[in-house]
C-alpha cells in the first residue's frame, strides 16, 4: 500500500474517532448531571458457561468520554505528526497499523463495561506497546526493550486476572456497575476482600504505569520511535493505571489502607524517578523518567482521594508531555537521530518554533504559574497536605519533586537550545507543516488547558461525587511555586554559564551522581535477583530434574529390567550340563508337588 494512503487512512480513522468522541461529549453535556452516570451498551454475548455470562459491552459515562477525548485527541495529533516523522521508513504502513491497533486497544480498555474486557484492552495495549517499542526489529536493544516491557506487563495482567477471579467469586459478576453497587452495599471499609481486590488490581496498574517496583521497562521503552513514546509512553497507555484506580474508586474508597499505599508508592516513585532524571544524557530518557515522576503525582492524587484532580493532571500531562516528546522528536529528527544531550545545543536560532513549544512544555511541566501544569500540579500538592488523607510527608516530597522537575527539564532545555551546537556535521532545520502543526496545537493546549480545572471537576462529578473544595493556602502555594522557580534558576546557574561550576558540583556529589546515573542499579539488582536465578533454575531443572531425575528414573526402570534379564540370561549358559541341571531341578520341584501334595 502506498505510504501516503496508509497514513491518511490511519489518521482519518483516529480523526473520526475523535469526532465521535466530541459528539458523545456534546450529547453528554446536554444531559442532566444525574443522568450522566453511565450507559451500558451490549454488543454481543461473548460467552455463557454455567453460572457465568459475559457480554461484550461498553460503558459510556463522563469518565470514559473524558478519556476518549484525550486518547483520540492526542492520538490524532500524534498520528498527523507521525505522517511526517516516519516518512521514508520502509515499513511506514506497518507503523500506522500498529498505531491504530493501539488506539483501538486503548479505547477497548476505556470503554469496557466489565473487568474482563478491561483486561482484554489492558493486554492489547501491552501488545501494541510491545509491537511499537520493537518496531525497529533489527535493533537488538529495541527487541530486548520490547520483551522487557511485554513481560512486565504480563505480570500486571496476571495480577489483574486474579483480581477478576476474586471479584467474580465474591460478587458473582464482573460487571462494573453491579460490582460497585454490591461493594457499596456489602463491604465494610478495609474489608479483606476489598483490600485483596484493590491490591491485585494495583499490580496491573503499577506495571502499566511504571510505578515502583515494576518501572524498569519504561525508560527502555524509549527505543521505539518518538511518536510512540509520546503517544503510548507518555500521554495515554501509561496513565491507564491511574484510570483504573479512578474507575474502581468505589472499591478503593472502601480500602483506605490501599489508598495510603498508592499515595506512598506514587510519591516515592515521583521523587525516585525525578532524581534519576537529573543526570541522564539521553533526551528521551529524561522525559521518560519525568513521565514516571508525573505518574507518581497522579497516583498520589488518586491515593489521597482527589480523583478529579488526578484526572485533570492526567489530561494536562498528556498535553504537555506529548508536546515535550514531540518537540524532542523534532529536535532528534533535525539532528538525524541524535539523542545525546551533550551533542546538542544552540538550536534556538535554527529551530525557533520547536524552541518555543519545548519551552512552553517545560514551563508547564515545571509548574510555572499560569501554564496548565501549574493548575493541575498545585491542586495535587495542596491536597496532599490539606486533603482528607494528606500529610506533611506527602506534601514535602511532592514539593521536593516539583523542584527537581523544574531543574531537570530546564537542564534539558538549556543543553538543547542554548550555547552552541556540539555536533558540527548536523544542519538542523525546522520540520514541515505536518510536524509543526501538532506541536503548535499541543502547545496551545498545554498553555491554556489549565483553565479547564473546574470544568473537569464538574464534568466528572457524576462519577466521583462532588469534588472536594479546593483548599486555599497561599503559603503552601507560594512554597511550591518557589520550589519550581528555584529549580529553574539552579538549572540556569549550572548550565547557562560556565562548565566549571557544573564540574564542581559533579565532583562534590560524585557518589550520589553515580548512583543516579546508574538508575539506582535497579536493573542490575533485578538481573541478579530475578533474571539470573530464573535462568539458572531453568537450566537446573532441565539438567537435574529432567535429565538426571525423572528421565533417568524412567530409563533406570528399563535398565534394571534389562539388567535382570541379563542376569536371567546368564542362566542360559549354553552348557548342556547346566540345562540338564535345570531340568533335574525342575523335575525335583514337580516331584515335590506330586509326592507331597
Amino acid at each position: 500500500m502506498p505510504h501516503r494512503r496508509a497514513g491518511l487512512i490511519a489518521c482519518g480513522a483516529v480523526g473520526g474517532a475523535f469526532a465521535f468522541s466530541l459528539y458523545a461529549l456534546s450529547q453528554m453535556m446536554f444531559l442532566e448531571a444525574e443522568q450522566r452516570a453511565g450507559h451500558v451498551l451490549t454488543l454481543y454475548t461473548w460467552i455463557t458457561s454455567e453460572t457465568f455470562t459475559l457480554n461484550l459491552s461498553i460503558l459510556i459515562d463522563p469518565l470514559s468520554v473524558f478519556m476518549f477525548l484525550i486518547v483520540t485527541g492526542v492520538g490524532f495529533l500524534i498520528h498527523v505528526y507521525s505522517l511526517s516523522y516516519m516518512e521514508g521508513d520502509p515499513e511506514f504502513p506497518r507503523f500506522f497499523a500498529y498505531l491504530n491497533l493501539f488506539i483501538f486497544s486503548m479505547l477497548v480498555l476505556i470503554a469496557a463495561a466489565d473487568f474482563f474486557f478491561l483486561i482484554v484492552g489492558w493486554a492489547l495495549v501491552g501488545l501494541a506497546s510491545y509491537l511499537l517499542i520493537g518496531f525497529w526489529r533489527e535493533k537488538t536493544s529495541a527487541v530486548l526493550a520490547a520483551r522487557k516491557a511485554f513481560v512486565m506487563n504480563v505480570i500486571g495482567d496476571v495480577g489483574m486476572v486474579i483480581a477478576a477471579f476474586v471479584i467474580f467469586s465474591h460478587f458473582g459478576t464482573l460487571n462494573y456497575l453491579d460490582v460497585f453497587a454490591a461493594a457499596k452495599a456489602n463491604l465494610r471499609p478495609n474489608d479483606d476482600v476489598a483490600l485483596l481486590i484493590t491490591l491485585l488490581l494495583l499490580v496491573g496498574a503499577f506495571a502499566k504505569s511504571a510505578q515502583l517496583p515494576l518501572h524498569t521497562w519504561l525508560p527502555d521503552a524509549m527505543e521505539g520511535p518518538t511518536p510512540v513514546s509520546a503517544l503510548i509512553h507518555a500521554a495515554t497507555m501509561v496513565t491507564a493505571g491511574v484510570y483504573l484506580v479512578a474507575r474502581c474508586h468505589v472499591l478503593y474508597e472502601l480500602a483506605p489502607y490501599t489508598m495510603y499505599f498508592i499515595a506512598g508508592v506514587g510519591v516515592i516513585t515521583a521523587v525516585f524517578a525525578g532524581s534519576m532524571a537529573l543526570v541522564q544524557y539521553d533526551i528521551k530518557r529524561v522525559i521518560a523518567y519525568s513521565t514516571m515522576s508525573q505518574l507518581g503525582y497522579m497516583f498520589l492524587a488518586v491515593g489521597i482521594g482527589v480523583f478529579s484532580a488526578g484526572m485533570f493532571h492526567l489530561m494536562t500531562h498528556a498535553f504537555f508531555k506529548a508536546l515535550l516528546f514531540l518537540s524532542a522528536g523534532s529536535v532528534i529528527h533535525a539532528l538525524n537521530g541524535e539523542q545525546d544531550l551533550r551533542r546538542m545545543g544552540g538550536l534556538r536560532k535554527s529551530m525557533p518554533l520547536t524552541h518555543l513549544t519545548f519551552l512552553i512544555g517545560s514551563l508547564a511541566l515545571a509548574g510555572f504559574p499560569l501554564t496548565s501544569g501549574f493548575y493541575s500540579k498545585e491542586a495535587i500538592i495542596l491536597s496532599s497536605y490539606h486533603g482528607e488523607m494528606g500529610n506533611i510527608f506527602f506534601w514535602a516530597i511532592a514539593v521536593l519533586t516539583a523542584g527537581m522537575t523544574a531543574f531537570y527539564i530546564f537542564r534539558v532545555y538549556f543543553y538543547t537550545f542554548n550555547g552552541t551546537l556540539r555536533s558540527p556535521e548536523a544542519h538542523p532545520h525546522e520540520g514541515p507543516l505536518a510536524l509543526t502543526a501538532p506541536l503548535v496545537a499541543l502547545a496551545g493546549l498545554a498553555l491554556l488547558a489549565g483553565g479547564l480545572g473546574h470544568w473537569v471537576d464538574e464534568f466528572l462529578a457524576p462519577v466521583f461525587g462532588a469534588a472536594p473544595v479546593h483548599p486555599e493556602d497561599e503559603l503552601l502555594e507560594t512554597i511550591a511555586v518557589t520550589a519550581g522557580v528555584v529549580g529553574i534558576a539552579f538549572a540556569g546557574i549550572l548550565y547557562m554559564t560556565g562548565r566549571d561550576r557544573l564540574e564542581f558540583v559533579k565532583q562534590a556529589l560524585a557518589p550520589i551522581y553515580d548512583l543516579l546515573y546508574n538508575k539506582y542499579y535497579v536493573d542490575e539488582i533485578y538481573d541478579f535477583l530475578i533474571v539470573r536465578p530464573t535462568k539458572a533454575i531453568g537450566a537446573f531443572l532441565e539438567e537435574k530434574a529432567e535429565r538426571q531425575g525423572i528421565d533417568f528414573a524412567v530409563d533406570e526402570v528399563g535398565a534394571q529390567i534389562h539388567g535382570v534379564s541379563r542376569g536371567i540370561g546368564l542362566w542360559q549358559s549354553g552348557k548342556v550340563r547346566t540345562y540338564a541341571l535345570n531340568m533335574v531341578a525342575g523335575l525335583v520341584v514337580i516331584l515335590l508337588f506330586v509326592v507331597f501334595l
Partner: protein
C-alpha cells in the same frame, strides 16, 4: 528254597546293575565307561529274564549290549578315549544335591505312595503256555500296530539323518560375538 534262591539271584543281579552304572559315571576313561555300561546292560538283560520277559531280554542283549555299545566303542576308538579330569566344583555339588533330592523323592514316592493294581490282559496261564516271544509278537502286531510302524518310521528317519550328517561336511561354526 527256590523262592529264596530266585530272590537272591534277582537281588545280586540288581545290585550288580547298580554298581555297573556307578562305574559308568565314575570312571574317567570312556572306554571303561563303555565296558561298565555293557556289563550293566547284561545285568539288566538278566533281570528282564528273571522277570519273565524273555523276548525283551534277548533284544536287550542283541540291540543294546551288541549293536549300540559296539557303536559306542567304535566312536570312542575313533575319537580317542581321552581321560577326563574330575574336579570338585559348585556345579558338581549342585548336581549331587539335586540328584540326591531326586532320589529321596523317588524313594518316598515308591515306598509311601499306594500303587494301584492294573488288571492284565494276559493271564498267567496263557503266558506260561504260549511263551513270551509269541505273546509279544501278537500284542505288537495287533493292538500296537500303529506305534510299531511309527517306530520303524522313526528308525528310518534316524538313518536318513545320519546319512545327511555324515555326508555333507559343515562349515566350522563361528562363535557369536556380542
Amino acid at each position: 528254597m527256590f523262592e529264596i534262591t530266585y530272590d537272591l539271584v534277582v537281588f545280586i543281579t540288581g545290585l550288580m546293575a547298580v554298581l555297573a552304572s556307578l562305574g559308568v559315571i565314575l570312571c574317567s576313561s570312556p572306554i571303561y565307561c563303555a565296558l561298565y555300561l555293557i556289563g550293566h546292560m547284561i545285568c539288566l538283560a538278566l533281570l528282564f529274564l528273571l522277570y519273565h520277559a524273555e523276548f525283551v531280554a534277548a533284544v536287550q542283549i542283541i540291540v543294546y549290549a551288541g549293536a549300540v555299545m559296539i557303536l559306542f566303542l567304535f566312536i570312542i576308538a575313533l575319537l580317542g578315549g581321552r581321560k577326563e579330569i574330575q574336579e570338585a566344583s559348585f556345579e558338581r555339588f549342585m548336581a549331587l544335591s539335586f540328584a540326591g533330592t531326586l532320589f529321596g523323592e523317588l524313594l518316598l514316592a515308591a515306598t509311601v505312595g499306594p500303587t494301584k493294581p492294573i488288571q492284565g490282559a494276559v493271564d498267567a496261564q496263557v503266558l506260561a503256555e504260549v511263551g513270551s516271544a509269541k505273546v509279544v509278537g501278537l500284542e505288537l502286531f495287533s493292538r500296537h500296530l500303529v506305534p510299531f510302524e511309527l517306530a520303524s518310521v522313526l528308525l528310518l528317519v534316524a538313518a536318513v539323518g545320519i546319512i545327511c550328517l555324515a555326508k555333507f561336511p559343515s562349515a566350522p561354526l563361528k562363535r557369536r560375538t556380542r
